[in-house]
Symmetry: none
Subunit: 210 residues, 4 copies
DNA sequence: GATGAATGAGGGTTCATTCAT
DNA sequence: AATGAATGAACCCTCATTCAT
């Protein structure tokens, strides 16, 4: 009886640390985040964090794992719905990224930061984790496409890389705009898609005369 | 004679701090950089850094100023040569960015990081500096373009934004690739331009049939 | 048993910091006191002071609180014994001040200095603390006085202010004399009261009836 | 010609340091004052301060000397006008102190602080200086008094000490009030004298004949 | 499992002073 | 006379981590 109740409380505390840490790391980045602050805000003793997660780095990696899982879940759900048309699909992928950010902005920030501002001591492990994710994720995003639609002289592989590049750029543009202004309108899927549609239209038909 | 020599030594120390700091800030970012380390590596007493630059932030802003200058120099040299053709011009801009990075990678990193990882305390001043630069730089990069070339139904403004987006994305892609592998081939202008040419060609004519 | 012993040791360290800090602040004043010195003399790591008291200011305020308490205790003990005669009472108040200084000279110095040399950053909080003390303390020191004794034409309120002024001056005079010579004879209550008696006698004939 | 001009400039710079230092020391006290700040505000190189005054302490002692002189001047002017009546004279002395403070508030603050917050390293020299001043100043303030006015049973010496004490207390009270509120009304001689007159009236009937 | 006391290196910054010029 | 470069100790404070309980 006692044990059961204690277990639950125990799990709660671990989870509490986890949630607070997620916020802290996502907002401040790895180095700037403070285990001190995390413990204080989680209402938990300093020792407990290290008891559960071993070290600051361990805690960070745990968060990263969870973040990758979350992303994968969204991704897996979307995978079967992917359209064969490349330009249609690119919209879907953009939507995937924006949705991840708007639904789980903390985890999304965490993953983005993990790429940009890699803590030197954890560099190896982090790159490993993220690369494994991308190896699984990237190729499938661009498979089963309908190559028939491309004009003659277009290398489909290159075309795919190109649209991938554009998606990355656009999602990053909006996320940066949101981060630097704090204005949530930049996360509004509809307006983003409108802009994307304009761009894709140019790409579809070309921008030059004749 | 003696006086001259001493002056030189003096200037050397200030410059020494500057150079070491540039490396430190470019590699670690603002917060993670250590004035301690800088002084130690510059072979200089702790006080001297603050004698010259007032504070960590002051030193950082000095570096930023210099970086902006360097960028402007490259930019000013390229300005008169800009082609009226949008797609030609986009190549030139890409070249500008890559050249800046390969010639002055430390300053380039510094400027890029200054946007991404803005130290809260300096946010105002930094944004000011960089915005002033971009206000002067951005509009002129895209002026005097030949609008006649665009197909009917294409909004030239949007087209310009689009190619701007693509340039940013491509330059960032190569810089990231260089940073994470350390392989200088990613800074090779020719190979970059080859890829760019492929992309721009798709954009020029469109990727879809008829 | 072990647990008990450790707890005690723990409490001892906190108390040790407290005592050493009291001495340091009382002797040197807030700004001049050094947390470094305190830790060294208390035989304690630098971090521990901040673990317990948060900051130099926090430590100082803790000391102030304790000082106010100590003063209040002495004051509360004396309150019921206060004589209705104003000149008798003034002697008692003088005694109160001198006794506080001789029994707890460090705390007494601390409180006096807290008024004279207020550290700007803590000004608000300190004034608050001390004012709350004085609001409770001052009015009651001068209540329930026998106004019948005053001569015609004497404003009792002014008379009270006057004797208050004299008490302050006299207690300060002796404390200064002690501080600058280090001779404890200046804290001898009897000799102080003798001088006070002479002064009050002069005053008595001035403010009392016939 | 050149020499003359240079001399003047030279003296100007020394004086400039002096004036700025006076303000700095009077406002912040010895320890808290910064030679750095003084030089910066005086528009003078760091070396020059030390060239002229040897050390921070030397500069401080120079200021103190000048302050003592200033006080002496006021005092010497007033000396011949001192009234033989003790209570009349006490008003004059109070006026002396207040006038010094209102005319030369910086020097006045300097002298007051020099007593209260003596920098340990200079303790001996300062005490020496100030004591020499007081030895010359105090006895003459209370000489040639008319002892005939005192009631029988009043020790004139004690009476004089008493009124001296009261003067000190009252002037200190107003200066403190001014310092903590910044309200110049506390330096208004007339209102101070009004309060003093009330007090002295009480005292007069106590110590004077019939 | 959970606590929080304890550590000490390192953070950025200010300081009075010296000295070559 | 006048400069300001240069020093390095000291300042308050934060940090991730350990460990006895």
């Amino acid at each position: 009886m006692k044990k059961r109740k204690s277990r639950v409380l125990t799990e709660e505390k671990k989870e509490q640390i986890f949630q607070v840490a997620l916020k802290e790391f996502a907002e401040k980045g790895y180095e700037q985040a403070s285990t001190n602050t995390i413990c204080k805000e989680a209402g938990v003793a300093k020792g407990l964090l290290f008891h559960y997660y071993g070290s600051k780095g361990g805690l960070y990696l745990s968060l990263l794992d969870k973040g990758v899982d979350k992303f994968m879940q969204i991704y897996d759900k979307m995978l079967p719905q992917l359209a064969p048309d490349i330009l249609k699909r690119i919209e879907q992928i953009l939507e995937l990224k924006i949705r991840f950010y708007s639904e789980d902005s903390l985890f999304s920030s965490l993953l983005v930061n993990a790429f940009i501002d890699i803590p030197t001591e954890l560099e190896g492990e982090i790159r490993n984790k993220l690369n494994r994710m991308y190896e699984k994720y990237l190729p499938r995003l661009y498979e089963h496409l309908d190559y028939e639609v491309f004009r003659d002289g277009i290398d489909p592989q290159k075309a795919i890389e190109f649209v991938g590049l554009i998606t990355d750029a656009l999602s990053e543009k909006y996320i940066k705009a949101y981060k630097s202004t704090g204005d949530k309108k930049y996360l509004n899927l509809e307006s983003i898609k409108v802009e994307m549609e304009i761009y894709l239209d140019m790409l579809r038909k070309g921008i030059y005369k004749g």
